[in-house]
Subunit: 211 residues, 2 copies
DNA sequence: CTATAATTGACCCGTTCGGGTTATTTTCCC
DNA sequence: GGGAAAATAACCCGAACGGGTCAATTATAG
């Protein structure tokens, strides 16, 4: 008696008819997979997947009406544990990171061969986060500190201490310099970063990964 | 006449003699790979790779003397374009993210089968960032906003505006409430986050991904 | 329907900050 | 060894902030 592994059910959100149908055929035609449903746009998908609760959603980004990014956000709001895998032509930094922040757990570019798409879906099911080569590199690079900024070594130290929430006085004590010198450094930092307050400086430092 | 692809030269940093030699044998014994050198600890490795400039460094984390994390940092300081692939038993969040921040472009756990290690090295060479299943998921999850925090919806809005570097007055104008109410919200936010200044609140909000 | 949480608003007061100006010492590159 | 860049330090002043106390209205959950 054969013991069949449970099917991985996949929902597809893709506006291009050809691509959508090809994907559906690919998934339904492969042992171990089933296509739960397909959608042309996000609104339908949000309704649909809430009812169907597939294992994985294959999601395009450039969609008519609501963008895939917002779609991911909405679906994740309702079903935080549902895994959403992005499949798109967009390789732009902004979009990649927005998709991941919205809750995507993987990101494939559209030239990905069918076999790799299937493998990626399996990987998602196993608790992984498959990404195309260049996307993965963008992601790991995003962790690294920026070195291209106009600040001197000492200024970075001051800014780093500032980011720990300290006052001028406390920064001075930490770095063994007078409060007035801290003040001076901060003035220079503000000019260079084009900010006008501690909180703005901290926000910029953390967002731009200066510290 | 055969056209051989150039060999991928790999340096290994690993203190365990058995593992180090196994890896060296694996790499030298595989078509298309060569082991440039092996090191027991970071200091040697830093000197060595600076001279040899291999294509990829396979790096352990738990090393005697300087930790692999610091080793990655030092090597990257000297050779920012050298690709370093971590191969370790450590799956702890802290260590994974420290390694990536230090400059690792990939992260494999030690149970990774030899074939996958070789494939990962090829992927690094192609400009990718191979990661073990669970590591990749940790990484994508790290982009998502935390929902477990003690702040109310409105407080998050206020904090979000604060993170754009605005003053109380400007926050009030943005959210159509009086400056005094902003002040009140901030007081509650400070209590809940246990901070005592705008910059500390911004730092905490961004680091903890509350906004 | 009631009680609790959330959101809104106000005043006071001492501290800190942001921006302006000036100046000396140290470090490091050419 | 000379000059530029960086790091150090000081003073002033008005604006902004942090913390304290008090209070009203609106949602929301039980």
């Amino acid at each position: 008696m054969d013991k069949k592994p449970p099917l991985i059910s996949v929902a597809i959100v893709e506006d291009d008819d050809d691509i959508r149908q090809s994907l559906a055929v690919l998934i339904d035609g492969t042992e171990g997979f089933m296509c739960a449903n397909t959608y042309r746009e996000c609104w339908e998908a949000i309704q649909g997947v809430t009812a169907e609760t597939p294992d994985v959603v294959l999601m395009d980004i450039g969609l008519p009406g609501m963008s895939g990014i917002e779609g991911i956000r909405r679906i994740k709001d309702r079903l935080p544990d549902l895994d959403i895998l992005v499949l798109t032509v967009h390789e732009n930094d902004e979009i990649v990171f927005e998709a991941l922040c919205a809750g995507a757990c993987g990101y494939l570019v559209k030239e990905t061969p069918p076999a790799r798409i299937l493998e990626a879906i399996r990987e998602v099911k196993r608790g992984g986060s498959p990404m195309s080569t260049q996307i993965a590199r963008m992601v790991t690079n995003s962790f690294q500190r920026k070195t291209m900024h106009p600040l001197t070594t000492r200024e970075v130290e001051v800014l780093d201490t500032l980011c720990k929430g300290k006052s001028y006085k406390m920064i001075g004590e930490s770095l063994f310099i007078s409060e007035e010198t801290v003040r001076r450094h901060l003035k220079n930092i503000y000019k260079k970063l084009e900010v006008h307050s501690k909180s703005e400086a901290v926000a910029k430092a953390l967002k731009e990964k200066i510290v």
